[in-house]
Every structure is written in C-alpha cells, then in structure tokens.
Amino acid sequence: MTPASIVHGRPAASRQAGGSQGGGFRYVVRAEWIKFRSVRGWVIGMIVAALLTLLLGVFLAGNANIGCGATLSGRACLPKIPIGADGEAVTDTFYFVRQPLAGNGSLTVRVTSLATRISAGGQAGPVGQGPRNPLANMYKGTVPWAKAGIIITASTRQGSAYAAIMVTGSHGVRMQYDYVHDAAGLAGEISSAAPRWLRLTRNGDVISGYDSADGKHWDLVGTATLAGLPGTVQAGPFATSPIYNELQPFFGGEHIQGGPSQATAVMDDITRHGHWLASKWTGDNIGGHGNSPGTGVGYFRQSRGAVTVSGSGNIAPLVPGPGSFYPTATIERPLSVIFIGLIAVVVVAAMFVTAEYRRGLIRVTFAATPNRGRVLAAKAVVVASAAFVAGLVASVITVPIGISRARNQGQFVLPVPLLTEVRVLLGTAALVAVAAILAVAVGAILRRSAAAVTTVIVLIVLPFLLSVAVLPTAAADWVLRLTPAAGLAIEQSIPNYPQVGSVAGPAGGAYPLTPWAGFGVLCLYAVVALALAAVLLRRRDA
C-alpha cells in the first residue's frame, strides 16, 4: 500500500492513484523529506554548510585587499575606471596620434617595427609603488599582447567606442573593437624585412579592417559595427603595451613576475582618404595619468613621412588578476569558499543514503517503495533541494556583503550584467545541489559513508587544489575540464578574454571552460553516477 491509501482511506481507489507516475513519486519524495528533516544532525549539517560559506566568504571579502588599504574615504586611491560599451570595466590607456575624420574615409599605414621593453623585474606595482622613472631600467623583451597600429574612436574619452587594427607582440595582426571583440589576421612577427600594411575604412557605422603583407593584396580581417558612431571621429596610429606578466612555475603557489611595459612602433607609408579635418597629427596620452596601468609615459616623433609612436597601457576589458593593475575584485570572490560548504553538504548527502544501509533501514524503505529507482530519485530531489536552499542562502547573503566590504577597502568590484549576477548566485546554489546529487549517487553505489564522502570530496576539492597550487597551467586546465571541479566555473562572472592574456587562473576566478560548459561537466558526472546507482540498486540485494 502506498501512503496514498492511508491518507484517503480508500484503498481500492488510491491503489490506482499510487500506481500513476506523478502522485506516487510525490509521496515518495514526501516520505524522504520527512526522513531527512527528522534527523537533526543532517539539518544542522546543511545549516553549517551555509554558515561556514557565509562566514568564511565575508572574511575573505574583507581581507582581499591588496592595494589601496582601508582609507577613511574608502576608494580614494582608485581613479575612475572607464566602462565599455556593454557595461564592462575596461582599460583604455594608450598613446594616440590622431586627426579628426569627418564622415566616411580610410587610413592606411605600413608598420615596420614593434619593439617592447619590460620593466626590470619589478612587480606590477600597485598605485604609488611603481618605479619613479618608469622607462629607466627597462630591458628588451617580448610582450605577447603589445599593440601598435591604427584606431578609429568616437572620442578621446576613455571607454569610447572604437575599432582598431594592429600588430601585436606575438599574436600577429588583430582587428579589435569595443574592447571585447577580437579577430585574427596575418600571423607572424613583424620586422623591417617583413612589414605589415594595415587599413581601416569607415562607412557609416561600419568599420572594416584589412591587412596586407605587401601593400598590394589586401585581406579583410574583420568588420565592426559601432552603433551611434558620431559623424566626426578621431583616427590615427596608436601604441600601447599591457602590464607584463610572466607566470613562472614556482612551487607552493604561482609566482608571477612582471611590471609595466612599453611598446614603440614605427609606421610609414601613411595614406589618408576622405575628409580629414587637420593637416597635423596630435599626440595624446589617453588615460596616461599617474594612476595608469602602464608607465604613464608616451610620445610620438615624425620624420620623413614616418611616425614613431610609443605607449603603455592597454585597450581591453579589465579582468581580475595581476594584469588588472588596479586592486580589482569579482562579485563571486567571496563565494570561492563554497568548497567548505560543499564538504558539509556532501557529508550529509552521502549519509542520507549510507546511513540506511548501515542500520538496515534500506530494507524497510524498499518494502515501502519497491521501485528502487524512485527511492533514489526521491532522495536526490530531497537532498538537492535542501542543498540548493543552503547554497542560495549562503550566496545571496555573502555576495552583497562581499561587494560592499571590498568597496569599502578600496577595491574596484568589476561590474557584471544583472543576468550574470543572477547566474552566479543561482549557479552557486545549483553547484551545491548537483554536488549533493553526486554524493547521493556515489553513496548508493558504494553504500559506505566513509568511501562515499572521501570519493566525492576528492573528486571535487583535490583537483581544484592541485590545479591552483602545483600543476602547470596547461595540465591544470585539463584537470579543470575533466573533473567535477569544472563545475566551479559556474561562479565565474568575468569571461575569459584570450586577447587579454590573463594569468589569473582558477584562484583568480578564471576557469578553462565557460560557466555552463563547466557546470555541464559536473552535471554529467552526477547523471552518470545516478544512472549507475539506479542500475546497481536494481541488481543488488538490499
């Protein structure tokens, strides 16, 4: 008899009701829910999970301060950080050699050299701690994302809409626009023997970028549609070079060496088409004030039709990690301690199954509901729901507190779209829930709490720890693609931009897989484990 018959007191009728799919399952879920909430330790375990995450998260948010220090006025040392077209924080610092262009037109240059210099060993010093004479003590070196080329921008204000085609330190010719978009052109390093011709044409809101290896055969690299581009734009050569970071394999934590860098490019063969409003080039150190992510020094020289332009900084989205120059924080940073909550949830979830085996309760359970798959599903639903609530409570409280604490301590919290924020909050809860399902399934497979708890913790936590601490980046990326730890990507709020060359790594909030793909990996593990558990439950004697 199903519980239905007791409730309705009509055995004959309810037997049919119990046999139908939906109603029967609902009662099994309710039965499992009563089992769950009537063991005080399990409920406490879930509360502990939420509390631990919350407390540690808030602690973490309050102690993530690296740069500005807690000043009375809060973020006194942070300059106004420009915001790009899609609301994302950006770095927009470069040396701009410009002329106004009215209406449609085009600009063509030949780049004959790109030289980069790196500050000598100095850490990318936070504000106020940079070297006094930035260009002194710099040495020659390759900066992969040093950029020099031509750019069309709506204005010289930081954060303006733009499109640019450029040569780079080691990523060939690129067409980039509005900070986050990037397309590859001709590969290879440039030199006087192998120069590159670059061309930008404006046609209304559409800007097209072309490159050529000989000045005769041109290839379209990309087109950018910049909606609302004003009639008169600023156009001309530019150069910039980001904070240089070198990730060195250093044991016991990643060791990042770096500092500001400076790119100097020589361009000639400058051809203008269209209605150019000035006859002379004007040099501007865009964003190159004291608190800039670079040397703050830039210049240009003209001689015999050639322009030498030298600049430092970047035109790119602002990402977390050492390359950001400013003390930045992501909204999900305080949630990274979800690991600890996860361990508590995994313990409870595994015990929810294994405790029945230890005490023989499982036989009573199967006598009450002979459909074993249904029992497993009900257990998964109940534990996952409880875990989801615990995770949601933790994330919804932790994130806003974390954001405000980070701001108070002089950090710049990278803005994200509302939908992303919702994804981070709900995703964290879902992450905990799916981990709980995985634990239920592993518990049903192994039937021993010790084995189940260990397996799930090792599957989720150990790969992450090894990735952060001991594995080289390439290997760490694979570990975070293939193990359930990939699911933590659901918390990443700032996407990975290959054109930024971030070395943040998972500890800095950058996972190799996109949030949903990573979460999918974890779900896949849970589904496979659940299926295996269902098969084993049917086959094995209880």
Binding site: F250, G252, I457, L466, V470
Partner: protein, 295 residues
Amino acid sequence: MTQALPGERPGPTRQAGDRPVPEPAGRRALPHPALTVSRDALRAEWLKLRTVSSSAWLLAGVVALTLGVGAAVMAANRCPAGTTCQVDTVKLSLTGIQAGQVVVAVLAVLAVTSEYSTGMIRTTLTAMPRRGMLLAAKSLLIAVLVLAAAVVAVGASMLAGWLILPDHGFTAARGFTGLSLADGPVLRATTGSVLYLGLIALLSLGIGTLVRDSAVAIGTALGLLYLFPVVEAFVSNPVWQRRLERYSPMAGLNIQATTGLKGLAIGPWAGLGVLAIWTAVALLAGGLVMALRDA
C-alpha cells in the same frame, strides 16, 4: 556445543598451558603491570586491524595514490631549455603526499569510527576498559603502520622523481636539487614527509575519536586539511595569506622545501611543529571525549 559445557571442563588454571594461564579472578594476586597490558592491547589492536581487509587496501592506497598523483604531476611539469624555472624538485617529487594524505586520513578515521558504527566499540571497551590506554594503543599502531606505508610511498616518489625529472629539464646541471638522500635538505624533506603522514594519521584519529561518525569525521578531517590552502588561494591580502600558511595543518608540508626557504611563511621544522600542535589538540580532545562520554 552440548557435549562439553564450559563449566564442566577443567578450568585453564588446571591446564598446563604454553603461556601464562589465566587465573580465575578470585584467586588473582596482583594486577599485571600496566606495561604488559599495554602490549596486550597493542597486539589486540594489531590483530583487529590486520583481520579487516580494508586496512591493507587503504595502506596500499596510500602508496598508490601518492606515487600516482606525484608521477602525474611530475610528468606534467617541464622546464624547457632556455627558460628559468623556480622549481623545488624535491617538493615536486613529493607532491603526491597531498593526495596520499587523504587515504591516510580515511584509514585513521576508520580505525576508530568503524568501531562506533558497528557497535564493536562496546566489545572493545569491555575488553580494554582503560580508554586512554586504548586510544594510545590505537594511535601508536596506526602511526607505525602509516609511517611504514609512508616510507614506501616517499621512497617510490623520490625514485619516480629521479627517473622522470631529469628528462623534463630539471637537471642538476641547471642548478636543480639532485634527489640524493645524502643531501641534508633532501633528507629533511623525505623524512619530514614520512613524519607528516604519521601526524596526519594521528590528527585524523583524534578527529575520529572526537566525532565518532565516519562520514562526519572524514568530512571534518579533509575540510580542516583543505580549508586553509583553499582560502589561502583566494585571499590576496598578503598578511592573511601568510597567517593561513603559517597556522594551517598543511603548513607541515613546508618540510618538503629544499630551496627558497627564506620565502616560506614558516620554516620546515616549525611547519611540522604546527601540524604536531594540531595533532596534539585533536588527540587530546578526542581522548577527553572518549574518557568522558558514554560509549
């Protein structure tokens, strides 16, 4: 069972036994000295441990996981010619300890909690009612077993490092520490790693005694071990980073460092000392709970 009732056969006192025959209580003179009993307890615990097959599997697991993960990490690390790598080859060879310690923790926790989960603890305490002594016997035994497994695991890992690392660019010619035990720091790192696993075992045993439930104890032990490095990975405040590194149980792993000692938040032996303090606290708390709480 019906043929010879125990009460009807001559008691062991009247038998010529090969070992000291048990005297019925009424005729007992003095109690055995504590030392003898302790040896009995050790032997009993040893028998218990080796008659459950999971112990052997777990010990083998310590070696396998340490070596497996260590070798995999070593295989993944390379230092191509012409680049500079600040890699401590000894520490790299012993990376597997971080995985192996999981199994050590499980083994040590289960040594206590499996008795509670089956109810056997009541039989055990009936046989050995001196709880402090029982915990001491268990601790000693687990420590010795884990140390033995750790010697094998560390030895195998060093051998793997010796085989793998030179091919990956980590040669002595380029200034990397050779993996010779004659070298003082190398010897410190290897013996220290063995001791580290022993201490992790005792820490977990203490937690198991404190908590009594396998799942909760394993969760607590692994949580305690991993909490600090995970938080440390995310904390960017150097002051807190240093604090977390100094006071975490895994600070004991600093014993593996052979180069860059100045950069460490805590010295090799001091780090192991921190772990020893954690272990002592856990064991003490466990012992106290065991003594005071009803079985």
